[in-house]
Symmetry: D2
Subunit: 156 residues, 4 copies
């Protein structure tokens, strides 16, 4: 699975892209976007993608159908972002392994310069006891379809 190493993510291309702007309150005492905010940007983009595909996380949670907590995340930072900087969070692809979904991200300025890349590996669980589901819910799988670069059943 070499798709989601940092170099591959930096090359992209993104299959879907979410334009954003660094907020006044995202800045830290060193004058740049505080590094965990990039994971908030990743999450906002992931939620917006699912919403746009008719698979709304807020509805899934309100109806206690499922949740998708993280098992692993990582990010590489290439350039700082500052207040007011415009950028897009691109979804480069997803790798599905049973009920695990590994999402690859690329953060780029409007001129294409990549400022950060990252991955978030979600596990689909029931919303009550947070127990792993045997497979992705069908509507989630369908929503992710345009992003899937690789797919396997659950690890044995």
């Amino acid at each position: 699975m070499t798709h989601f190493d940092a170099k591959a993510l930096a090359r992209g291309p993104a299959r879907w892209s979410h334009p954003m702007q660094a907020r006044f309150q995202d800045i830290d005492a060193a004058g740049i976007v505080f590094y965990p905010r990039f994971f908030e940007y990743f999450h906002d983009a992931y939620v917006a993608f699912l919403d746009g595909r008719g698979c709304e996380l807020h509805r899934a949670i309100a109806e206690r159908r499922w949740a998708a907590p993280l098992k692993h995340v990582e990010a590489d930072y290439l350039r700082p972002l500052r207040f007011g900087d415009r950028f897009a969070v691109g979804l480069v692809g997803v790798v599905i392994t049973g009920s695990d979904v590994d999402v690859g991200y690329q953060v780029a300025r409007p001129d294409g310069e990549v400022v950060a890349v990252g991955r978030t590996v979600h596990v689909w669980v029931d919303a009550q006891r947070f127990r792993r589901l045997a497979a992705l819910p069908e509507d989630v799988r369908a929503a992710l379809d345009p992003l899937v670069v690789s797919e396997r059943g659950a690890p044995t």
Copy 2:
């Protein structure tokens, strides 16, 4: 009810005090603590006070006994705080009106300089439907005891 105007809050004294320090990520693009963070500091102090009195908000929520959302808040800012600045959030007092609790705060540096004051007016509600309780739960009323400066039944 003149206790909780800004001038009275600035005079204090605080009846209970919670030492804190401005975090790296509390700073905004102008280089000072982002103003809504003071409400986070107020809330942290209020939670810590209740915890110390054996009335834990996290337990009340987990057991779905009650919640205490806000109906009104305000703050006056006298001096900026910067990264690493030490300060204490003082609880100046509470005014109870039925199931409303009006909490007064004073934020002061170790040398006593007041940098901000504020109020938060909470309404005690049931945790399921967020409907106002007729009166404060007994354990909450007992926990608040050292802070009470005025108390009345519900407005009629």
Copy 3:
């Protein structure tokens, strides 16, 4: 100055409006938007308004021209917001008094239901020493023009 009491703000109307959506991470342990996040929404709307009028806060700060810290803020909460809820932050008007700018806000759902109102009183200062300017910078005054409901010189 009765324009910006809570009832007047709830009546509105907003002169300018910024559509937003409650984020996953804006929710607190009680399951609703954490109350200080409303001030973040206010600030995002205020920044977006100024940006749209060609008066970019990030540029003013980067060029060390001015900053606009808060001297007073307040909010009244009428209904909770939950994850995924759509709303608009409306700017109801501004009152200018010398270099103080009092901004009135109304947060409403798409069906018009008002969920919160608030005020933020900014002071325009130089960006280096945070000393009050004698008057608003001309470009700021021009940018605010569509919102001005009252204007006076500095208090004497």
Copy 4:
């Protein structure tokens, strides 16, 4: 460099430990600590460690001596944290490579159960232009001393 894979971090032990508690506002719409908050916890612990060793990040930034932005971060999540949960962020060790510092973290409950592990790789830069320093400032190197598990010059 096998010290900082997730399994080694989970085994620990921590060389220094920072007790914390999950805040009301750290919770997300799924009812658990929002995953990027763990990086805030890591950062708080790292700042507290340096402070305790007489190497205060806020002073370094105020004096424009250096900054330490991130080049890479990652985390593995083993168990969720909920509002009010107590935990400690342990620093398991640092690996120094020139002006890069790779910090390993372990988040554990009071009973020792590990709930998350992570790494943050900082680059020491000058505070003005964010250019990499040839080596760590002496006071930083001295402060980190109790944590160092491996050390090399800059990569060639």
